[in-house]
Subunit: 282 residues, 4 copies
């Protein structure tokens, strides 16, 4: 994902310095004219803007705050940092605070839109912090750059939105399956529901039942969508912050569990709408 | 509700014969020109079309199939019957079958739109059975008459739709509350989510958080909406048919339980979006 | 099951008249000296005590209240009827009332102990109604005859007990699986928990993890126990009565759903403790 | 709690050095002959055995690993440390590893038994790590010292046990409430269930319905038991470790949510069996 994002920055004519633990990812970009940094500190000293895309909180913490190699220990004054990893907002806020103390601007800018959106440059960025500092760069990679509030807000919006997405996807799967078991035609039922109060993105744009919407992952055996493993990760973050804030989330929590059981049944790489098949198969 | 629906039929100029166990409801309509029937059999023998709106399955069974007074035992050949009660689809199908055997056309046509819609004549009817037979009459009372399929389909659609509605309402309440606890501005969060994959009718049209949408019941102390007691009843029907068909509905079932706990806490007459307050209050 | 129960009555020397839609079941008992009835009315006129064991409510209603062949229409004055079917207590109470009006004593006496207990005559009967009338006969088939209260109480106790059983079985499966994933030895963990506040029948007598308790179904591939399909049926009854009484049962309801998903995954004939495998497999 | 535990050590004749951010707690013990340490480093240099009881993970991390004042930086070679705080097992394991590198023995030994047990010296300690090193001291404070396995195991056992405890308590509350709503006598129902497969510690020792068991908190308005807030905290830890290990815990997760809603409704200081009242009240 990071590779595609970097390629779009390059395409827009920005000079690019790259680093990754995976050498292959770098080589491709270097072949197109990027400079390879030899280490994180090396990268930090060469750049005025830094963008990271990492798998989770521990990696973000390591990359930014490691006593020896952490970016915050080597970035120049007034560097602008954008972290697009999906991690706990509290961690992101802590790092933003440390950055501010060192005269560094840190933004959280998690994305939606998947690998496809990264490649086409049509990602949506949900941004927390001083968005003006990062807007130009983000617009090189996405078609939608939304300001959500202070540091951490981008992550909060993404996590809360995805929790509701999971809930309404499972709810849609349940309602569609029940309707079918009751003898309704799935297309007719979906059409009526989508004009009614049951309407949601999962029912009217991404319907989980094969044959109802030609463009939805349900029609390509639940491939090439938003992976169950990623949804499960986001639901885990939602549970973590709801425990920390004391906000009850009964359906969010049960949705997390359902996706966890689906992981245990080997569905991690399938689109998350496969919950329809998981609930209905026999 | 039935009173308002009858008044609209009257307004359109149809001759009207009325019957209700509650005398008062009749008097008002009689004052405007309707004829009062002295009993169900009396009503049946006077009418070519019969419309009923009853609280639940046992009343529908009694009114139609009672050995002595049941409408099916007294209605004339080719009578067209429309039942707008929300009951189990299987019961409605059974009655439709009995009706057919007696040359009577029976339609299920549950409504959405509430008492307000009944008064203004803007109800939505979800119709199962031979819709052509009842369309004209239904259009006298509602602005939206949707054909769902064979007998019972109208009820199936209503029950499945409302199950998803409850799920997405609770999900919206959870997501909004979590976002607020995390420090987000509820209006900004709702706006972004409503352009994203978390979007649903409960978030973009009927938001449960006071101050987010001026027209939603949340802004009038959750009064004059769709009562928690009615939603709980519909969720009970959803659970009943999902048990009978073997369709798993984990979120539908948990939503039913949450509304049941809210009933036990005295919220039966409040709009069902009060789940936001129930989950967040402290 | 009924066959084994009848055989035990025969063994104790009681004269036996039998009827079943399945001829084979009758033949075996007739070979051992029982009289075959030609129909339900034929059976009713020959007996002073009648015992039934039927799959569900509709069959019980049919067998007892059918206008032509129903047992209540043919049983002699002062007949004592014991129904051991697991059905809705409200239906059982209705039938008991009808029976009383005809001078017939009706008891509900659902069983626990499975096919094995039926064969060995070690069933437990939970009895609602005038237990003195049926005690002698029940003791011919079971080792434990417990009076629960008025008509229907036997069923209420069975349904409520089994709901808690399902909840604690799933809870045990979750706790054992989590403990194992955390690196604990399952036998040591079970031993400590069984001396502590987590202790329950599912953990200390019927542990769902293979290798922890030699006699539990977990050690014979979850065969020959209490089938998932039967537990699912009982949980459906629990949900039905909890909806009717307005009693919230969030964990009972979620347990029902989990067993329903397991049914959809083909586990209906396995012992209900297989929920451990369902949740943990990967 | 720590105060009572310290007092029992003193009673057994061990010399005692104490430290607390709350001066008052120290004064009382000093009056009875204990020495007050002026700081954590001061305490560390005076003791061969150290015992801590802290509210949560962040405090434990601070007390042990703070660069300047952390106990691990000041404790002498071969010091034996017992931490009785209830925290994440992964954190405890990390600290144990750091301790080992400094030739310090670290044990986790969370307790059950409450303030009452701490006072009477009848606590149960669930111990992870080299139990022989701490046994004598633990037996001065508790009547039950159980070895659970390697470092962190004591915490794992406590967290898993308490998750099942919460599940079976809510399940018992649901079953009892449903039974009562169905017309059963609560004492008779509890008695039968406690001889059957629904039996659990929550039903046979700590029944949540007033009037069923004279010694249970239900009979003293749910005062002086295991507080809802503490159970909620333990369920949060259970969810955290189940997310980290990928173990699905649907009922554990829903139980956590139910206790969270109860917290939002002001029940944090009541015994956790008050879930019965929360579910049944009307």
């Amino acid at each position: 994902m990071g590779k595609h994002m970097a390629a779009n920055i390059q395409k827009k004519g920005y000079p690019l310095v790259v680093f990754d633990v995976n050498k292959m990812a770098i080589d491709e970009l270097v072949a197109k004219g990027a400079t390879a940094a030899s280490s994180l500190p090396d990268l930090a000293t060469q750049c005025t803007h830094i963008l990271t895309m990492l798998p989770g909180g521990p990696q973000v913490q390591e990359v930014y705050t490691n006593n020896k190699t952490g970016l915050l220990n080597h970035a120049k004054n007034n560097t602008i940092i954008i972290d697009s990893s999906t991690i706990e907002p509290f961690l992101s806020r802590d790092i933003a605070k440390m950055a501010k103390d060192k005269n560094i601007e840190f933004l959280d800018a998690p994305v939606s839109g998947g690998v496809g959106g990264a490649e086409k440059g049509t990602l949506t960025f949900m941004v927390g912090g001083n968005i003006e500092k990062g807007k130009q760069l983000l617009e090189a990679m996405g078609s939608n750059v939304v300001h959500c509030g202070d540091n951490g807000s981008g992550l909060c919006v993404k996590i809360c939105n995805n929790m509701l997405l999971a809930i309404s996807m499972i709810g849609t799967a349940e309602a569609m399956n029940l309707a079918i078991k009751l003898g309704l035609d799935p297309k007719i039922f979906a059409k009526i529901m989508n004009m009614s109060s049951g309407r949601c993105w999962s029912s009217d744009t991404y319907n989980p039942v094969p044959g109802v919407m030609p463009t939805a992952p349900a029609n390509r055996d639940y491939e090439q969508g938003f992976a169950t493993a990623l949804m499960t990760k986001d639901l885990g973050l939602a549970q973590s912050v709801s425990t920390q804030t004391g906000a009850p989330t009964p359906l969010g929590s049960l949705s997390h569990q359902i996706y966890r059981v689906m992981m245990a049944h080997g569905l991690q790489n399938k689109d998350f709408s496969i919950v329809y098949k998981f609930l209905s198969e026999n």
